[in-house]
């Protein structure tokens, strides 16, 4: 008995040991690039080009950060990115929450097909879409005279084609996990469908809504291909494209600024993750029914 217990303890210790080994590998693997970026961003240009010790800073400086944050061009990129991402999140949520509610709760002709269709839409690679989208924009410009190419706000129309299907799909899953009796109870209590959505479904499915929000924000913040294809003027660019196109001058890479710019650009999603994580993890449906 004692032997069995100690061997069980040993098994557990071994399992823990292995988990830590793999976790360490994972941490090293994922954290190496950002750490390297941070180190490089704090070096002077001279030190970067000397390339003596890549992992050590001899004369730390915040010069690159100061330069970027006082540069109107970089701040424009930042502003464009923030505007685009926030508007995309708003549009995505405004479309996908009601859509998911309808698809998970109201049985209508073709609702099941539509739900699957929404997901299949997401499976189409975005790289296949930008050429037809570009052609559509040219066609719209010719037909109406409204210029759509090289306008930052066009991204606000474009990104939801990527975010809405997936966000809707996530929300359908969350809404479907809400017991049917909950809406029936609300229906009997006198709630309209809109009230069921706003007063029962949205609060109960908040973790799902936050997951979808994070997703939509990340997709639009980190999107590279579409802004590269659809925007060209410096004042219309968003961060990821802006850093590449303006900080690389010809064949001169201003590595310090590129790294600082990229790190600053990665900060907002991190802050949002950290802020929303608490809500995200909480299991809010507990207690609704027997469970």
């Amino acid at each position: 008995m004692a032997a069995a217990r100690s061997s069980m303890k040993g098994d557990r210790r071994k399992a823990m040991l292995w988990s830590y080994v793999f976790l360490c590998i994972f941490v090293v693997f994922t954290l190496t690039p950002p750490v390297y970026m941070l180190i490089t961003s704090l070096k002077t240009n001279a030190e970067i080009s000397a390339a003596v010790a890549p992992w050590w800073i001899f004369a730390p400086t915040l010069a690159h950060y100061v330069e970027l944050l006082t540069s109107p061009v970089y701040l424009t990129f930042f502003r464009n990115s923030v505007l685009v991402s926030m508007l995309v999140v708003a549009i995505t949520m405004a479309v996908s929450i009601p859509a998911a509610f309808a698809l998970s709760r109201m049985k209508f002709w073709g609702s099941a097909t539509l739900a699957t269709g929404v997901f299949l839409t997401y499976l189409i690679p975005e790289t296949l879409l930008f050429i037809p989208l570009f052609q559509t924009f040219v066609w719209v410009t010719e037909a109406t005279g409204i210029e759509l190419i090289n306008r930052w706000w066009v991204l606000v129309i474009l990104y939801p084609t990527l975010t809405v299907p997936f966000a809707t799909w996530i929300m359908i899953g969350y809404f479907s996990s809400i017991p049917k009796e909950l809406d029936e109870a609300a229906l009997i209590d006198g709630a309209s469908y809109l009230q069921i959505l706003t007063r029962i479904f949205i609060p109960v499915a908040l973790p799902g809504i936050i997951a979808a929000t994070i997703f939509a924000f990340t997709v639009s913040w980190a999107q590279f291909l579409y802004p590269l294809a659809f925007t060209t003027s410096t004042d219309q660019l968003v961060l990821p494209v802006g850093i590449i196109t303006t900080l690389i001058k010809g064949d001169v890479f201003t590595w310090g600024q590129i790294m600082a710019g990229a790190l600053l650009g990665a900060a907002p999603p991190l802050i949002i993750y950290a802020f929303l994580m608490d809500y995200y993890i909480a299991g809010l449906t507990a207690g609704a029914t027997k469970g």
Binding site: P179, I188, D189, G190, Q195, L206, L284, A286, A288, T289
Partner: protein, 366 residues
């Protein structure tokens, strides 16, 4: 307060009939229980009264008003669900007041009604808690509180106790009865548990395969079932059924179970059964509680039996004895002191004053 009337109510799911024509009048303040096995249409019937299910045919009236096309919120009903269906993000107080807040009832009126309902259900201390902080029984009380607060014309209960453990179920059953005595509201209660049905109901509606088998007080259903289904469904352990024949014999009637086993029909039943004499395919029914130990009674119409005991189940206050009679396994409820050992023989006596004869073809009790 209102009566509820169902007229030729039917419901089909696609082409599958779930409810096949129900006629029922539920009086004001009455407590009616719909009981039956799963799939008998009892929940569907309740949901049609609630307005959660479209009506295929027939009419539902609440008060004197046909409510077929009225949305649930306008029917002035309250429903308690099997899984409670409490809003998880709201406190008990918010859960109970949700309907009133939607109706824009004045704040002090809401507070008064919630307090009153909480007092009736003894959940005043729980008002600030969230559903996940409550036990199953407390959640069910809150669900009832949510119904009481709205002061509806009709209470609808859909298997409200099925998720509770056995002991709590008995407690809550009594609780529901107490609440009904305090808050005299017309109540329709659905359950598959015949004991719940018997203990709670003013009248029980036994349903089977989308139809009503019998409507009656608990005593009527127990003593005078009209079909074999009701006879077998009400009462636990279930009524014993033995195939038999009915023959004329020396001025009276005899029930013949097999070649060697037969008995005289009690004299007061002869007139009732006379017309069926000579019919071969009948079923003799007798409840386990009407087969007792031999020495206990020796009144008229008691037929002694000597049987081989197969299994006994001691329950404490009584012992269930299972024995074979002509190839059919039967059950008797006997005094635990005198219970026979398994594998041994026992002397029992059947009280034929409580016998039933059933036509096997139609399933009707004769």
């Amino acid at each position: 307060m209102a009566k509820v009337t169902l007229k030729k109510l039917t419901k089909n799911y696609d082409d599958t009939p779930a409810v096949r024509g129900i006629d029922l009048e539920i009086a004001d303040k009455e407590f009616v229980v719909l009981v039956g096995p799963s799939g008998c249409g009892k929940s569907t019937t309740l949901r049609m009264i609630a307005g959660l299910e479209d009506i295929t045919g027939g009419e539902v009236l609440i008060g004197d008003e046909v409510v077929n096309d009225m949305p649930p919120k306008d029917r002035n009903i309250a429903m308690v669900f099997q899984n409670y269906a409490l809003y998880p993000h709201m406190s008990v107080h918010e859960n109970m007041s949700f309907g009133l807040r939607l109706k824009k009832v004045a704040k002090d009126e809401i507070a008064r009604r919630v307090e009153n309902a909480a007092r009736i259900l003894d959940i005043t201390e729980l008002l600030d808690r969230k559903p996940k902080q409550l036990s199953g029984g407390q959640r069910q009380r809150v669900a009832m509180g949510r119904a009481i607060v709205r002061d509806p014309k009709v209470f609808l209960f859909d298997e409200p106790l099925s998720n509770l453990d056995a002991k709590l179920r008995v407690q809550m059953r009594i609780e529901i009865k107490k609440v009904h005595l305090k808050v005299r509201t017309t109540t329709v209660y659905v359950t598959h548990d015949q004991i719940e049905a018997m203990t709670l109901a003013d009248r029980v509606v036994v349903m089977n395969a989308g139809r009503i088998e019998q409507v009656g007080t608990p005593a009527e259903l127990y003593h005078a079932p009209v079909t074999k289904f009701v006879a077998g469904f009400i009462g636990s352990p279930a009524m014993n059924f033995v195939p038999c024949a009915l023959e004329e014999a020396a001025g009276g009637l005899r029930v013949r179970v097999s070649g060697e086993f037969s008995f005289q029909v009690p004299e007061d039943r002869v007139a009732r059964y006379r017309a069926h004499a000579g019919r071969p395919r009948l079923i003799f029914g007798l409840r386990p509680e009407h087969i007792a130990d031999q020495h206990q009674t020796a009144a008229a119409n008691h037929r002694p039996l000597e049987v081989a005991v197969v299994v006994t189940e001691p329950m404490g206050m009584e012992t269930l004895v299972y024995f074979q009679l002509d190839g059919t396994e039967l059950c008797a409820r006997v005094n635990p002191i005198t219970s026979a050992p398994a594998g041994g023989r026992a002397k029992l006596v059947a009280d034929l004053n409580h016998m039933h004869l059933i036509d096997d073809e139609s399933g009707r009790v004769l």
